[in-house]
């Protein structure tokens, strides 16, 4: 009985999307939704299959994933380290925090024209934008996480002989972990958003390029496929982030 309920619970969230998909397909068949406005799900699926067979899909997907990953690692890494140092060392905080907070308020997408002039339309410009977009959420949450460690726990750690590195790894870092993971999850959203915008402006590969190219030829099914791919990638990165949360914040449940 209890198992039945668990299976039921897993199915329920998918009812609405599946129902919408069925309706969409039906309306397309009947002709209520014209192909020029929105192609049927089956057409999108077919477009996906044929692109997979030619290998095009894989080329674009890997180009986008690569940019996302590299940009995220660079921006996230810098944000994390800055947050760490500014959270721990008073001098570093005094020196950097105000500047970072100032830069944070510039919408990074506003820099696109400048970035294109700096780096051209090569990989560099996309990676730069992703890194910049990802940096601030990771910085803010890491900094905040370290700043808000319970002073009582730090005092306890000191009283029990922890100091320096051991104090950091046993007390400060685990305590900041939940905040850091929130930052990472938020940054993953910013990462995809930045990539979508950057790729539609100027590239010669990537999902955004695929969509813009399809627009020129009025290939509705490929445009919709690109959007679905972005949604899937976003969902996958969210699942990965959630996995880490469950793994490192087990004690919090």
């Amino acid at each position: 009985m209890k198992r039945d309920r668990n299976v039921f619970k897993k199915i329920i969230p998918w009812l609405v999307p599946v129902l919408l998909l069925i309706l969409w397909q039906l309306f397309s068949w009947v002709g209520i939704i014209p192909d020029r406005i929105l192609p049927a799900p089956s057409a999108v699926f077919q477009a996906g299959i044929s692109l997979m067979i030619t290998g095009e899909l894989f080329t674009h997907l890997s180009a986008s994933l690569w940019r996302a990953l590299i940009g995220f690692l660079i921006g996230g890494g810098i944000g994390f380290l800055l947050g760490l140092f500014n959270g721990i060392f008073r001098f570093s905080e005094l020196l950097f925090d105000t500047s970072v907070q100032m830069l944070r308020n510039i919408p990074h997408l506003a820099l696109i024209p400048l970035v294109i002039l700096w780096f051209g339309i090569d990989e560099m410009s996309k990676i730069f934008l992703v890194a910049l977009g990802v940096l601030f959420p990771v910085y803010l949450n890491t900094y905040h996480g370290i700043k808000s460690v319970d002073k009582g726990l730090i005092e306890m750690g000191r009283a029990y002989g922890l100091k320096g590195k051991s104090l950091f790894f046993h007390v400060v870092f685990p305590s900041a972990m939940s905040s850091i993971l929130v930052g990472i999850r938020y940054a993953l959203g910013v990462m995809w958003l930045t990539l979508i915008v950057a790729e539609t402006i100027s590239t010669h590969a990537g999902i955004g390029y695929m969509a813009m190219n399809a627009r020129d030829f009025m290939q509705m099914d490929i445009i919709v496929l690109s959007i679905v791919l972005y949604a899937l990638l976003g969902k996958i990165s969210d699942i990965i982030a959630k996995y880490f949360e469950e793994r490192y914040l087990r004690w919090n449940t």
Partner: protein
């Protein structure tokens, strides 16, 4: 110069003063604590009793005076002492056993298990602190303190947040472990009954000074219903209430009271 320390004294506090900014918390405290003695320090909130304990632990430094531990002046963290806090302060991201292992080398894990066994929580060693009750958390905190075999156990109102039954149980547990191990113990509490039930000596702190230093000559285990128990209890309570009465008439002279007295402040300006 007279010797400040004799071998019976485990810890000696000489002319201890402590200020925070302009607020003087401890004005001049002198105290000798004998080896193996159980001292209770009582006083109202904000009287400086917790500050005193933190000075003994070496977590803070006094502004004036010296604390001697085993004849030697204490100038940094007191490594012979372990402190148990009111709110337990277990690390929520470590399981019970790992919490007890804090500051312990890896090959001493068996000692942590033994310590948990001593407080009756061995079977909970793989649980998260969030799964424990308030009393169990404090037992873990006690095990964590005792696993280091401290010479001096500092208890900062560790039972303040517990219900009455758990409290009495914990008092008995601490008293038994103290008798068994013979460490020196300093208990901060605002509960006079708890102080009389557990301590050899009750020290009352008022306005940053020791206002009363009373030996409790009762045999253990102590019965709370005893006449002599009530005698000490009443005597200490009367002292607290009595001196409170005097304080009201002297209010103008007490710095930290006038600071919060709006009438006084407006008359100054």
């Amino acid at each position: 110069m007279e010797s400040l320390v004799n071998e019976k004294n485990h810890m000696v506090l000489r002319d201890i003063k402590k200020n925070y900014e302009k607020l003087s918390v401890l004005k001049n405290v002198n105290l000798n604590i004998m080896r193996g003695e159980f001292i209770a320090v009582i006083g109202k909130s904000g009287c400086g009793k917790s500050t005193l304990l933190r000075l003994m632990a070496g977590l803070e430094e006094q502004c004036h005076g010296t604390i001697y531990m085993n004849d030697k002046p204490l100038d940094k963290l007191n490594e012979k002492a372990r402190i148990m806090f009111q709110d337990g302060r277990l690390l929520p991201w470590k399981d019970v056993l790992d919490n007890v292992c804090i500051g312990l080398s890896k090959d001493n894990k068996y000692r942590a298990i033994e310590a948990l066994n001593n407080v009756g929580l061995k079977e909970k060693m793989n649980d998260w602190p969030s799964q424990l009750s308030g009393g169990q958390k404090q037992r873990v905190a006690l095990a964590r303190a005792l696993v280091h075999n401290p010479e001096l156990l500092l208890l900062d109102e560790p039972l303040g947040a517990l219900d009455a039954f758990t409290r009495i149980e914990m008092q008995a547990l601490i008293e038994n472990l103290w008798k068994e191990r013979g460490f020196t113990s300093v208990l901060i509490t605002h509960d006079v009954e708890e102080a009389v039930a557990m301590a050899d000596r009750v020290v009352l702190i008022e306005d940053g000074l020791i206002a009363l230093d009373e030996h409790i000559n009762l045999i253990r285990p102590r019965e709370r219903t005893q006449e002599a128990f009530s005698y000490y209890h009443k005597r200490i309570l009367d002292h607290i209430i009595g001196s409170n009465h005097c304080q009201d008439t002297l209010k103008g002279d007490v710095i930290d009271l006038t600071a919060f007295n709006p009438v006084k402040n407006t008359s100054n300006t």
